[in-house]
């Protein structure tokens, strides 16, 4: 059975001052629905670039990326934006919450792009914040929250549209051990209870140990797959 994420012979190069820098070389991989994958590798190995390609915020130079049957590498800019809003939930290393919006308003952002009514949006946001255990912090601004709480709000924002895939770039990289464990526990729960397919970039072997599959990259090549 084909995976929900199919990366086929994907290469990615960047041009800077007419010099081509090749970041990924002919990568192919399949990620099954409900799989929790960790992408590991040293800095500059191309793991974040691969994550960006899978999440549709960047396009490959060569090859195809098929998500849930759709070749996203062929989508137009605006179609890709719409696709991201319904299919992908993003978790960033530094949470990337909007500082002028409350926790509730931050979580509500992605569903402003849907046709849901205000009451329905409220229900969705409350459910998402309930899942991450922060329904008592709805009216707090990011600066009034701890790092771990901010990342939980970011996770609530990632799941509020009920996307099939969650992508996380070093989600515990800015947290202390206790908060990092809470976040990993939450991600495991999202994977097990809600069957979210998770692709997580990490340097941390402890974080990676929570994944079903660990894929190692080095200098733009996929060198090892550990199950």
């Amino acid at each position: 059975m084909s995976g929900i994420i199919q990366v086929k012979n994907v290469s990615k190069s960047y041009w800077r001052d007419s010099i081509e820098t090749s970041v990924l070389h002919d990568i192919s991989l399949d990620i099954k629905e409900g799989e929790f994958t960790a992408l590991m590798g040293p800095s500059g190995s191309g793991k974040t670039t691969l994550l960006n390609l899978i999440s549709g915020i960047d396009k490959p130079s060569k090859g195809e990326i098929i998500i849930n049957g759709a070749d996203i590498s062929k989508l137009s800019e605006s179609a890709l934006a719409k696709w991201r809003s319904t299919n992908i939930g993003f978790v960033f290393q530094f949470y990337n919450l909007i500082p002028v919006l409350t926790a509730f308003e931050n979580v509500e952002l992605p569903i402003l792009l849907t046709k849901l009514s205000k009451a329905e949006r409220k229900q969705h946001v409350e459910t998402a914040l309930n899942i991450v255990g922060l329904n008592d912090r709805m009216d707090h601004y990011p600066k009034q929250l701890s790092g771990g709480q901010e990342q939980r709000v970011a996770i609530a924002r990632a799941i509020v549209t009920d996307p099939v895939i969650l992508v996380a770039d070093e989600p515990t990289g800015d947290l202390d051990k206790h908060s990092a464990d809470e976040i990993l526990l939450l991600m495991e729960r999202l994977n097990k209870e809600f069957n979210k397919t998770i692709v997580m970039v990490t340097h941390d072997p402890h974080a990676a140990s929570k994944a079903h599959v660990i894929r190692h990259l080095e200098k733009g090549d996929l060198i090892q797959e550990t199950v």
Binding site: N52, S55, I57, D58, E77, S78, A81, K82, R84, S85, T86, F90, F92, F94, N96, I98, P99, V100, L101, E105, L109, P110, L112, L113, R157
Partner: protein
Amino acid sequence: MKIPLKYIMRNFMTRKLTTFITIAGIALVVFVFTAVLMMAFGIQKTLVSTGSDDNVMITRKAANSEISSIIGPDIQNIIRTLPHIATESNGNLIISNEPVVIINLVKNGGGVSNVTVRGVSPEIDKLRPQVKLIEGRMFNWGLRELIVGDAIAKRFPGAQLGSYIKFAGGDWKIVGIFTTNGSGFDSEIWGDAVQLQSAFNRVSTVSTVTLKLDNPENYDSFRKAFIADRRLQQYEPIIEKKYFAQQSEMLSTFIRVLGIFITLIFSIGATIGATITMYSAVANRTVEIGTLRSLGFNRISILAAFLIESLFITIAGGAVGIFLASFLQFFSISTLNFSSFSELAFSFALSPTIIVWSLIFAIAMGFIGGFLPSIRAARMNIVTALRAG
């Protein structure tokens, strides 16, 4: 536009100092812009309110002002024979044969300025009932006495009640001060037409003849009779209000064109200020832009959000500028009216049209100033923007 307004509004409030400085700059430019329009409108309003709709003024066709117009006694008599001239209860025609001359008077604080002196006929109180004496009395017919408009009394120390003005080889006593509630007549001095004619050696010629129609609707019929008389072909009848409106055009257009030109130069500075503010807003929020784009907000939403933010700043500045300019309505100033070559006092006047134009001006500055930064925000590459953190 999917990005919530509260996001835009709260960002607007986070950079208090830069936002305040930009608003102040825009407010200053809009203040000047509004003040210029108010000044031009004030002049128009003053001169338009000078005339009446039911009075007809007759001037020589070639004359472009009252001073350069000459009407001889034969023509004055022919005019009196035309139909539709209103009469008093005693049967006298309501008509004023008016010599108009310019004299020099010393202004408050020094300097000499031209002042219009108008000779009027005894029917003047019926012809221009808006004239109200606020001090003293009406001059006596046949004497060298004058009444002065209140704008003249305020601006010329020599034109006070009881004082004498020297011109045309004689001393003229000021016996009254009148007002017409801000019309151009308030900047004039009036006396007996016959006395002024003889003082200025005008024999029996006057500058203009102004008459009241028995009914304003009879103007066309009056004009038809006027034009039909070949002896009057060098003269032109015009509704008094329209005449003064035309007299205001040159000065108000000059002020408007010059003022708007200067304001446009100022506005370049204010627009650059708005651009810098918005570029710094984009630079400070690069990661936010990347985040919003990755969440699915498209380029147009980002462009609109930053453009609206810029418009908020300039509309706020515009509102402050208009509010401050509105206080100018309490001030009255004077200038030389190009058409009559004499002093004209007027007040700044605000109108809904001026408010709308001032806001459009502010919005234009916001749009131009915010456009390039907004384009930069919208064109930002998501991956590059996210890495900026």
